[in-house]
């Protein structure tokens, strides 16, 4: 959301004098050093997220399981114990022991059971919702990034033209909360114009299947939420890319390309945009968490059956196991998206393949 440009990565190498140029030795085609560094970082982040997750329910008061058990008698004692272990309610154990048990459960893929969904395993509940979120948010984010980046490259290249007017417009759209834009879209396109259904991922009475009709329904239902996400998040990418382009256009190699008699189109894409996109990918990686956080609210607005709606429902029902599970899964997805962005970066920027800084 900030209009501040991400700084180009600062090489934190060892300085050998002020004028000295560091020698560069061989390189491998696969940027192992870069990738192992990132892998260590992701493992650390994963650990941090899981640990946060461990402490979250331990901050609340009262025993949710007891409350639940008093309402539902057909719960096996084992299930209740497992639930307590996950939620940190087995207070007779030390915190460390609880932490170890928690990890043991996680490693077995056991995220507990959802009180809200009739004690079904949390993993099962989430795995039904996840594809919808990945499909909607993932698709919309990638589309928005692509349009914003390509648009920003063109706007930056044709600086001073009428295209400059796009920047304030998209920035305005990105200062509006997602949910409000979504609600407006529903009011306008669904209620008044009737072009799109009001919510949900597919029509009532349909069962998910690989049929043309069903897919059509999904697209019809998904258009409005996806379009809203794209419109609301486009501005940041466009502004970032445009600013990067302005910086890159002053670089010598762009001037060289023009002196070489390269056609404009080639200079724009192969020389200028190709370099300007690198910081853009880095900020993409770091912004995914922010974007995903913002977009899950869209699922509530559009009653979309994804993990965002799951999280909000769980929050309202105080279903802690589900909340924890959803948070973990969202974090994991963000990490995976980050890794993909990093790998893309590593292959787009040959400098990461350097064996020596």
């Amino acid at each position: 959301m900030t209009a501040v440009q991400p700084q180009p990565p600062v090489q934190d190498g060892v300085e050998v004098g002020t004028t000295a140029t560091t020698a560069v030795k061989g390189h491998s085609r696969v940027p192992w050093r870069f990738l192992t560094g990132r892998a260590a970082f992701y493992l650390f982040t994963l650990w941090a997220a899981i640990t946060i997750n461990f402490f979250l329910p331990r901050m609340m008061k009262g025993d949710a399981v007891d409350q639940y058990l008093s309402r539902n008698r057909n719960v096996s004692p084992e299930a209740a114990d497992a639930l307590r272990a996950l939620l940190g309610l087995d207070t007779d154990k030390s915190l460390l022991q609880q932490y170890v048990d928690y990890w043991a459960l996680l490693l077995r893929g056991d995220l507990g059971v959802s009180l809200l969904h009739g004690l079904r395993p949390v993993t099962e509940v989430i795995s039904q919702a996840l594809p919808w979120t990945v499909g909607l948010v993932g698709f919309a984010t990638v589309v928005s990034f692509a349009i914003g980046t390509i648009g920003g490259a063109v706007v930056g290249w044709r600086r001073g033209s009428r295209l400059d007017g796009l920047i304030p417009v998209t920035t305005f759209l990105s200062t509006i909360p997602y949910f409000w834009l979504g609600l407006l879209a529903i009011a306008l396109f669904s209620v008044n114009l009737g072009w799109f259904p009001i919510g949900k991922a597919y029509g009532v009475g349909m069962t998910p299947q690989w049929s043309a009709e069903f897919i059509g329904q999904v697209i019809h239902h998904g258009t409005l939420p996806a379009a809203t996400i794209v419109i609301a998040s486009l501005g940041g990418w466009m502004l970032g890319m445009r600013n990067m382009m302005l910086t890159v256009l002053d670089e010598d190699y762009v001037m060289v390309a023009q002196a070489k008699g390269m056609p404009n189109r080639r200079v724009l894409w192969r020389y200028a945009a190709r370099n300007a996109v690198l910081p853009q990918i880095q900020s993409f990686a770091l912004s995914i968490g922010f974007i995903v956080g913002g977009t899950i609210v869209m699922e509530m607005v559009f009653s979309y059956p994804g993990v965002g709606k799951l999280l909000l429902d769980a929050t309202n029902a105080k279903d802690y196991a589900l909340m924890q599970g959803v948070f973990l899964v969202i974090t994991l997805s963000v990490l995976v998206a980050n890794i993909l962005a990093d790998v893309a970066y590593a292959f787009l920027d040959p400098r990461t393949r350097q064996t020596e800084a």
Binding site: T2, G160, P177, G289, F327
Partner: protein, 336 residues
């Protein structure tokens, strides 16, 4: 005497020498606010100032109490009595929006202050230190960047039965400092190696002076930008949380109004006077903050400003900055 064609001396402050303390204070203040001295920043500051005043004088400005129920006037479109109409309970929407400003401004600024303090401390330290200490602070920053903030805030907020605004601001601040810290770290790292910092070290300046007097002044624009950015993010997060209903709906802010409007089906019944104003207010304050940041951005990186403006100025002279071929303008005008 030395001559240099590249720098023309500015209009001489030396000919009319003012007493020294004044000069120093004035130049200091002048340079501290230089980043806001452009049209975009000033427009943004004016809009922001308007909202701050509304928040401060909400009690005086609002025609009704935000919770005053009037059963005879439900779902009223705008009228002379109710400029922005009424809600399902006959509450005055305008009064709600005016009172709602307070929560938004307070939380936005409080969260941004918390986040900026953390960002400056972590960012500058991580930028000044070297080796594993710097790396681990940087890793910590990135963890906070990567972990999705809003879901975490939703969960944390749901742990409280009735979270006061202070707590909300604190949570937003604690989760929102990372981007600023990252930008500040990068800038500090580049400052640390500048010759003037090395010169200060070689002169034996103590560390606190190097950071406080040599580096911080050069980081001010970035700190301001990161502050403004965090205010934007905090306001968006606050209104989102209120809309979801995680934050109790009895303390008014714009998100709460939208929560009620949505719950009562205002969006489906075209009661635009209820849902448009709060949303537009969020957008207006967002635009104000972006304008401020555009201004700061262009101050930090003059290329950004010059790009558009210069290009348009050139166009007036019949030149195209994108032209890869130098224009020819001979006096005879026989070709172009």
């Amino acid at each position: 005497m030395t001559t240099d064609l590249r720098t023309q001396p500015a209009p001489a402050p030396t000919t009319q020498r003012v007493p020294r303390p004044t000069t120093t204070v004035r130049t200091r203040l002048g340079s501290a606010f230089a980043m806001f001295r452009n049209r975009k920043s000033i427009t943004g500051l004016v809009i922001l100032g308007f909202f701050v005043l509304v928040a401060a004088f909400a009690d005086v400005l609002a025609p009704y109490s935000p919770t005053q129920v009037d059963n005879t006037a439900r779902f009223q479109p705008p009228s002379a009595e109710h400029w922005l109409g009424t809600t399902h309970l006959g509450e005055d929407v305008l009064s709600q929006v005016i009172h709602g400003t307070r929560g938004v401004i307070v939380v936005g600024f409080l969260a941004a202050i918390i986040a900026t303090v953390i960002a400056v401390v972590i960012g500058v330290i991580a930028g000044y230190l070297r080796g594993w200490r710097s790396e681990s602070l940087s890793a910590l920053t990135n963890v906070f960047l990567v972990i999705p903030g809003l879901p975490l805030i939703i969960i944390v907020a749901s742990l409280f039965d009735d979270p006061p605004l202070i707590v909300i601001a604190a949570v937003l601040g604690l989760t929102g400092w990372a981007w600023g810290a990252r930008v500040l770290r990068a800038q500090t790292m580049s400052l640390r190696n500048r010759d003037f910092v090395q010169a200060a070290r070689a002169n034996g300046e103590p560390l606190r002076r190097i950071i406080g007097m040599e580096m911080l002044p050069n980081l001010m624009a970035l700190i301001a930008a990161s502050f403004v950015g965090t205010v934007t993010a905090a306001i968006l997060a606050l209104t989102t949380l209120s809309y979801i209903g995680v934050i109790p709906v009895n303390t008014y802010n714009w998100g709460t109004i939208l929560n009620w409007a949505s719950a009562q089906g205002a969006f489906r019944q075209n009661q635009w006077w209820w849902f448009l104003p709060p949303g537009l207010c969020i957008a207006a304050i967002g635009v104000a903050l972006s304008l401020i940041n555009f201004g700061i951005d262009e101050y930090v990186n003059p290329r950004l400003r010059s790009a558009g403006e210069r290009a348009r100025a050139m166009k007036k002279r019949g030149l195209d900055v994108n032209d890869a071929v130098t224009a020819v303008r001979t006096t005879t005008k026989d070709d172009a």
